[in-house]
């Protein structure tokens, strides 16, 4: 019983991490129609900034707060300089953002070398429930993920920023005619997606350590989650991430990890083939 509870918690916390990483990816894919191959590197940057703050003797929290802002600002600049040219062609966007990701990843690798650098958990220790111990930091990640999800939902559905964002997504020319600066909205959307990736990196670096391939490790899982969930809505990718994250954490408990790994991808691809619109179809929030 206790084991089952701890297992369920582990699975849930891994699902939350995938959701956190996929949030930004999903927003960019849904709103802009771009599968951003550099998203993993934005996660990596968020982790790196957190590590830098820690290494310089600042509190870890400071790094974690700074990460989404720095990465978001970088995203805004990159969108204006480079990503903007790719909107007409999704495949070119894939290749272009891949190149961008390669540059960022290899630069970070140059800075940190091939090491696994560790950052301590800002909230250490474990929460004890009777005889069971669950990691306090993983629990915090779950809570923050829920808060961020709620925040994104409110931002997109309740604020005028969200309204303008959705208007740009639905009909760019009409939005432009209504006085919305669509280039600015695209920039802001991309920056927002990047910031979420930066936050994800900051929060997971105590769990996974910092290494150059940290981001790319989750990238393909992230794409699959977005496709399974369905592009075109906010909820879709989140649902997809929940399913993929939970499956890839749960299946290794009942079968060989290798088989589980491959099975998740095979199932996901088969699912997308027969239900291309994903779990949750539709446009909007």
């Amino acid at each position: 019983m206790a084991n089952a509870f701890v297992a369920a918690f582990e699975i849930l916390s891994f699902g939350a991490i995938i959701v956190l990483i996929v949030l930004g990816l999903g927003i960019i894919a849904s709103m802009m129609g771009i599968f951003n191959f550099a998203q993993g590197e934005f996660v990596l940057l968020g982790a790196y900034i957190t590590y830098l703050a820690y290494a310089k003797g600042l509190p870890i929290w400071a790094g974690m707060v700074a990460a989404p802002f720095v990465v978001g600002a970088l995203g805004f600049v990159l969108e204006a300089l480079i990503i903007r040219r790719f909107y007409a062609a999704p495949i070119v966007a894939m290749l272009g953002t891949y190149a961008l990701g390669l540059i960022i990843r290899e630069s970070v690798r140059g800075l940190i070398g091939g090491f696994y650098l560790t950052v301590p958990e800002p909230i250490g220790g474990s929460i004890d429930i009777g005889t069971m111990h669950i990691s306090a930091w993983r629990f915090t990640i779950i809570v923050i993920t829920l808060l961020v999800m709620a925040g994104c939902y409110l931002l997109l559905s309740r604020t005028s920023f969200g309204l303008r964002m959705r208007a740009t997504l639905e009909n760019p020319s009409l939005a432009r005619a209504s006085g919305i600066s669509t280039p600015l909205m695209y920039g802001a959307t991309f920056a927002f997606g990047s910031a979420l990736a930066g936050l994800a990196g900051a929060l997971i670096v105590p769990v996974f350590s910092l290494y150059a391939d940290l981001g790319i490790r989750f990238l393909i899982q992230g794409f699959v989650a977005v496709m399974v969930g369905g592009v075109g809505s906010f909820i879709g990718p989140v649902a997809g991430a929940g399913v993929i994250g939970t499956l890839s954490a749960a299946l290794p408990w009942i079968m060989a990890p290798v088989v589980a790994d491959v099975l998740v991808f095979v199932l996901a691809i088969a699912f997308i083939k027969f239900r291309p619109q994903g779990l949750i179809a539709g446009k909007g929030v």
Partner: protein, 359 residues
């Protein structure tokens, strides 16, 4: 004639392999394009002569390196067929390359089969089979799959294969399968050096000519039509999905052939060979050289591999960054690759761009 110059610019597609903004009958575009018309055979000839002469002028260890490059060029050719001609973004081409490599490695290890007339067809067949299965699943069916779905599907396939190879003890796990015995022809053993080089060069030339014949046939023109506008080709009565599945399978077979040669040349196979790393590497080659020209794929492989070999001693750390920057620049400013500096858009098969008066 600034107006006509802009027409030339427009004749180069704004995106790789996508919709081409064709300007018909703009006579002013002649100089650049007319020159381009005769360039392709010259480029092919120069590459051929250089390739034939290479072992005569190179030191031994460079001949070994050149052999590897020729094998990778064969692999790049397979990607150029599916991407440059049919417009299918196969982001997991290494799946066919690597699975064939693993296949022949197992043949050599467990069954002691190294005969060239057995292992190369076996590798080709493995590539073909896997491509038929994956391509059939992704490309065929009631609803045509989106380009993005196919590219992510192939990428995921390759990633899953990578994970499988890493975790499966029978395939050697992380370490792969080391010390594969040499490929044999009767009593002769192919070891690294000029013999192996001319063998793979011969194979490359044969495959290149077959591909050249294929893409210039009716079938190839239909493929190029697909690349430019799939719906239009479908309206003409072609079964677009079948054409795609066929070229995907052919690409897989060539990748399999390259993979089996690679396994015997290197003497070992390891998980990266089926995974995302090699899959994206081949995309780099073709984008650099220029997609949709066949020779562009070969040139791109030679340039990328050559420069990284050159730089890897002194600039091992920053070379990948430079590679990324160059790739980004090519995508942004030269979507048809480096070969488009000397080759007119018209010489990409199937793109009948600006027409030239009096020619």
């Amino acid at each position: 004639m600034s107006k006509s110059m802009s027409a030339v610019k427009q004749a180069i597609p704004a995106e790789i392999g996508g919709e081409t903004d064709i300007v018909m009958g703009s006579s002013g575009a002649a100089p650049q394009v007319a020159a381009g018309r005769k360039v392709l055979p010259i480029v092919e000839g120069v590459v051929l002569v250089a390739a034939l002469a290479a072992p005569l002028v190179l030191q031994d260890y460079l001949t070994v390196f050149a052999t590897r490059v020729v094998i990778l060029a064969l692999f790049a050719l397979s990607f150029d067929l599916v991407w440059g001609y049919a417009g299918i973004m196969s982001f997991g081409q290494a799946l066919f390359f690597g699975s064939a490599g693993y296949g022949v490695a197992l043949l050599a290890r467990d069954l002691d089969i190294t005969d060239i007339f057995l292992v190369l067809p076996a590798g080709t067949l493995i590539g073909l089979t896997f491509a038929l299965l994956l391509g059939g699943f992704l490309l065929l069916g009631r609803h045509p799959s989106s380009v993005i779905f196919v590219s992510l599907g192939t990428l995921t396939g390759s990633y899953a294969a990578d994970r499988l190879a890493r975790g499966w003890y029978y395939l050697g796990g992380q370490n792969g399968i080391p010390s594969i015995s040499s490929m044999t022809l009767g009593g002769y053993e192919f070891s690294e050096g000029p013999g192996f080089y001319y063998l793979v060069l011969g194979i490359l030339i044969v495959v290149y000519l077959l591909c050249r014949f294929l893409v210039r046939s009716q079938f190839g023109l239909a493929l190029a039509g697909l690349r430019e506008n799939e719906q239009r080709i479908a309206f003409f009565g072609y079964k677009a999905q079948h054409l795609k599945a066929i070229i995907f399978a052919i690409g897989g077979a060539i990748a399999g052939l390259a993979g089996s040669l690679y396994a015997f040349h290197e003497g070992f196979v390891w998980p990266n060979m089926v995974g995302v790393v090699v899959s994206t590497q081949v995309v780099l080659y073709v984008l650099f050289g220029g997609s949709g020209t066949l020779i562009g794929a070969v040139i791109g492989t030679v340039i990328v591999e050559g420069v990284s070999f050159w730089l890897s001693d002194n600039y091992r750390d920053i070379w990948p960054i430079i590679l990324g920057l160059l790739l980004l620049l090519v995508i942004l400013f030269r979507p048809l690759g480096l070969i488009s500096f000397v080759l007119g858009e018209r010489e990409r098969v199937g793109s009948f761009g600006a027409r030239i008066k009096g020619k």
